[in-house]
């Protein structure tokens, strides 16, 4: 990789395998540290949150996107730009409520579980990729959008696809008054 002088940002690319294996090592270590699945999930979510609040700066700097004017634009941005930039996959977005503030991202390929065959029997309710939920929640909070992010379906638990649900917590009308 050559570096041209005068480039403001350095694109540090590491191997995908290294990233996926490191995430796996992290989850394995957490499983050793905590007995209950809920604790591991909470810890992953917290870590994801710390990452998300910092990642949003990197994302905004690199993608130079304009401000999103609606929740559905935001959800599309997360799926088509952010996921593509950081994980190399593009989940599909669907809106699952009449009020327009609940969306789900459906991932048919999840790079984080490349080397995971199945969850061990004693860890049946572990949300392996819960870090992603924390990242999305943290990033959204830094742009003043409170949201709840959880896994609705998980391939590792036997569902057909992996689905992340994002529920924006303020009513859509409020956005018009924000300047």
């Amino acid at each position: 990789m050559s570096r041209s002088p005068g480039r403001k940002q350095e694109n540090h690319k590491i191997s995908r395998e290294l990233f996926v294996l490191t995430y796996g090592a992290l989850v394995a270590q957490l499983c050793k540290d905590y007995e209950k699945d809920e604790d591991v999930n909470a810890c992953l979510d917290r870590m994801g949150y710390s990452i998300g609040i910092r990642l949003i700066d990197d994302f905004l700097a690199r993608s130079a996107v304009k401000r999103c004017r609606s929740y559905s634009e935001t959800a599309d941005m997360i799926a088509q730009v952010a996921f593509k930039m950081y994980l190399g996959v593009t989940p599909s977005v669907s809106c699952s409520s009449a009020t327009g503030n609940e969306f789900s991202l459906i991932l048919d390929k999840n790079p984080l579980v490349d080397f995971v065959e199945e969850l061990p029997a004693e860890r049946a309710s572990l949300c392996y990729c819960n870090l992603l939920c924390g990242v999305i929640r943290g990033a959204l909070e830094m742009v003043h959008l409170a949201a709840e992010v959880t896994f609705l379906q998980d391939r590792l638990k036997g569902d057909a696809v992996t689905e992340i649900g994002i529920t924006f917590l303020r009513k859509p009308e409020d956005r018009k008054h924000r300047r």
Binding site: M1, H12, K13, I14, S15, E17, L18, L21, T22, G24, A25, L26, A28, Q29, R54, F115
Partner: protein
């Protein structure tokens, strides 16, 4: 404490290194396994580092007085990119993760060693091979 944190990072790196090695060797050097110390070190500095971090390690050096000790030097390891160390823990070097990774890789490749991370010329990973490894290497050279 700093030593504990570094030990945990090294353990995580160990976990990763064990799994990363086979895939990497199969891709980079199909059919040939490194049997000499220098060979495996050059493999580490070049192909391994490039596959993992996107660039080669900056320097590979041998200690002047000790033929068991080698240094892999990197001015700015990728692992430390977003890490800011508070002053009270200033001796913590998160490249301990890379050290654990390297230790697992060398061990699984048949060159057991101890690897530690130090703040020296940037970040230096100090590799100390077991006596048996050096003795074996010398006898191979003699043939």
């Amino acid at each position: 404490s700093v030593a504990e944190l570094q030990a945990r990072l090294a353990r995580l790196g160990h976990h990763v290194g064990l799994r990363a090695l086979d895939a990497l060797v199969a891709r980079e050097r199909p059919g040939r396994r490194e049997t000499k110390v220098l060979g495996v070190l050059l493999f580490v500095k070049g192909p391994l580092w490039r596959a993992l971090f996107g660039r080669e390690a900056d320097k590979l050096e041998q200690a002047n007085d000790d033929d068991r000790t080698f240094y892999v030097i990197e001015r700015e390891p990728v692992v430390n990119t977003f890490v800011s160390v508070p002053r009270e823990n200033s001796s913590l070097n998160c490249a301990a993760f890379a050290a654990g990774l390297l230790e697992a890789v060398l061990g699984a490749a048949g060159f057991p060693a101890r690897v530690s991370a130090h703040w020296h010329k940037g970040t230096t990973l100090m590799i100390k091979f077991d006596e048996a490894v050096i003795a074996r290497d010398k006898s191979l050279e003699g043939r």
